[in-house]
Amino acid sequence: MYGPTVLGAVRSLPASPVPPDLLDDAQTLGGALLTLAERFPQFECLTILNRDLREERRTFGELWTRARQIQGLLASAGFTPGSIVIIVMPTGAELLAAYFGVLLAGGVPGLVATPSNRYADETAYSARVGAILENAQAFAVYADDQIATLLRAQAAVLPPHTRILTPAQATTAADAVRVAVDPDLIATVQYSSGSTGTPKGVLLSHRAMLNNVRAVRDGLGLTPRDVSVNWIPLYHDMGLIDAFLLPMLSGCPTVLIPTMDFMREPSLWLRAVHRYSGTISWAPNFAYAICARRVPAAELEGLDLSSWRIAINAAEPVLMHTVEDFSTRFAAYGFRPEAMTPAWGLAENVTIATAHPVGAAPVAEHIDRQALATEHVARAVPPAAGTLSSVAIGRCLPRCALDIRGPRNESLPDRAVGTVWLHSDSLFAAYLRDPALTSTVLIDGWLNTGDRGYRVGEDLYFVSREKDLIVIGGEKYAPHDIEVVINRVAGVREGCVVAFGILDDQRGTETVAAVVETKETDAAALEALRDDIRRQVNQTTGLGLRHVLLVAPGGVEKTTSGKLARRATQRRYAEQLAL
C-alpha cells in the first residue's frame, strides 16, 4: 500500500498568492482573516490529509463562510461578546472554522483535547472538560456529534446548564461581522497546562499572538512559498499557533493531519512532507524518536524529504541521540541534518521564544554532572561515562530577550545555571481568574518561565523544570492528578504517594513511575495492589505506570513542613527506578 505511486499520486498544492508582508499591519486575528478572505477567497489555504490518504481542501473563502455560520449560531444563542467558547473536536476544517467563528462573534476561543484513548474513562474526561468550562465561565462548548453525545451523557460532571452546540446547528451566517479592532482584547485562552482539578487558563491578546506569529515568521525566515505540514494537536499551544495560525496567516499552504492518524501511522507524517514538498513541520522530540526507531522501512519506500528545510524539535527536552538517529536514518531519504531545528518556548509567550539558527546543524555539548549538581555550573567536558549531553535550544527570536537569574534574582553569567526569565512583546496577559498566580510569574514585564537553564553566548540550553511536571510527548501531566487516583486505591497509605517522570532515552520522552506507601507486607497482596494501582491510573488518566514501587510507611520523602518531596523520593530509589 506504500511506495512511489501512492507518494506521487497527488494534485499539487497551489502556489500562494499572498504577499509576504500581509501580516505586518494586522491588528487582530479576525482582521487578518478578513483581509485574506477578501483578497484571496479562491486560494486553497488548507489541506486535511487522513491516513487513508483522503484529502480535503478549503479556500479562504470557504473557511470564512463557515466561520460566519458558526458566528451566526453563537449570535442566535444569545452570545455575549467577550465570553469564552470551548471547542472540542479533532483536527479538521470545522475546528479551524469554529476557532475563527468564535473570534468573529467577538468571543474568546479555547481548544481542549478530544477524548482519545488517553482518557479511557469518559467520566474522568468529562470532569476535566467540566472543570475547564467552570474556570472559563464558558458561554458554550462547541463539539462534534460524537463528543457532544459523550458530554451530554456525562452532564452530571459538567457545570449546570452547560450549553453544548454542534456543527449541524450552524446553518445561517450572522447578520454582521464583528471583527475585534482592539489588539489588546483577549483573543484566545490556552488550557494545555495545569492540573485536572485546577485548570490554568493562559489569556493571550491579539497583539501578543500576532507579535509571536510575526517573530516566529521572521526568525525562521518563513515566506508564503513555504509549505507547512503538521499532525501535532491543535489544542496544544504549538499546534494552535505554529501548525495553524502561523502558516495560514502568513499565507503558506497549510497541511494538517489528524493527530490520531499520525499516532496510528507515524510514517504518514513523512509521506505527507514528501507528497506536498513540505518545508516546515513542528513536533516534540518523541515523534522524531518514533520515526527513527519504529517506522518500518517498507513504509518509506520512495520517500524524498529533500524539500524539508525546518524540522522544529520543541515542547519537550531535545535529546541529541534522537536528533542524530533521525538525521542518520533519514539522510538516505534526502533529509538534511541542518533542517533539524531545536526550539524552546511556552504558552505564556504564546509559543516559542528561541530557535536554533535555520540552516545550521544542531549544536550539542557534554557537561559535567558533578559540577552541575554541586556548583550549578554547566562545565563543558569531553564526552565520557557520567557526562550529560546537552543540546542548544536556540537563540532569541526577534524582539525577545533572556536573562538567567540566580536565587536572589541576580543576573548570572554564561554557563551558570539558573531560572530562565523571558521578555518579549508576546507575553500572556494573565491567568484567567488567578491574579495571584499571574503576579508570581509576570514581574516588571519579565516572565519567570519556571525552566532552569544556562547560556553560552547567544545559545540557550535547558537543564530542568522547577515545577514537578511530567511531560510525555509534549503533553504536560501534573503528578498530583496521578497521585489523587493512587490515593483512592484501597491498601494505599493516603497522602503518602508520589508520581514523577523518568526520562526514557529509547523513546525520547518521559515515562511515569510512582512510589507508594502501604502497610501491606504479604507478597501476593502487594502484587494485587500494584495491579490495582496500575489499572486505576490507566483508566482515569490513560497513562501506564512503568514502575510502581511499594514501600513501607516512611518510604516517601517529605519536606520538614510535611509536603511531598517528589525529587528527593526519586533520588532515594534511583537504582530501583532505572529503566
Binding site: 491516513r51 488517553r118 479511557a120 496510528r264 501511522e265 507515524p266 519504529r294 518500518p296 483508566q539 501506564g544
Partner: protein
Amino acid sequence: MEAIEPLIRKFLRSELGLDDRSIGNDTALVTTGIVDSVALVRLAAVLERATGLVIPDRDVTAEHFDTIDKILAYVAAK
C-alpha cells in the same frame, strides 16, 4: 489472515525493541507502560492492516489491549 500472536510479538520486538521472551500472554502491557499510549494506537493500526478489521479509537484501551490474551480475545470477538 496472519496469526495474531506472532504479529503482536513481532511488533513488540521490532517497533518497541523489547525482548518478547520475557513477556507472557498475561503480562500487562498498557497499564505498566511497557506499551505506551502512542505505541498502543500504533499496535491497533498494525492489527487493522493485518486483519482487515476496523478498530475504533474508543476500543484502543487497556480494557481490550492490556495483555496478549486480551488482544486475542478482542480480535476473535470482532
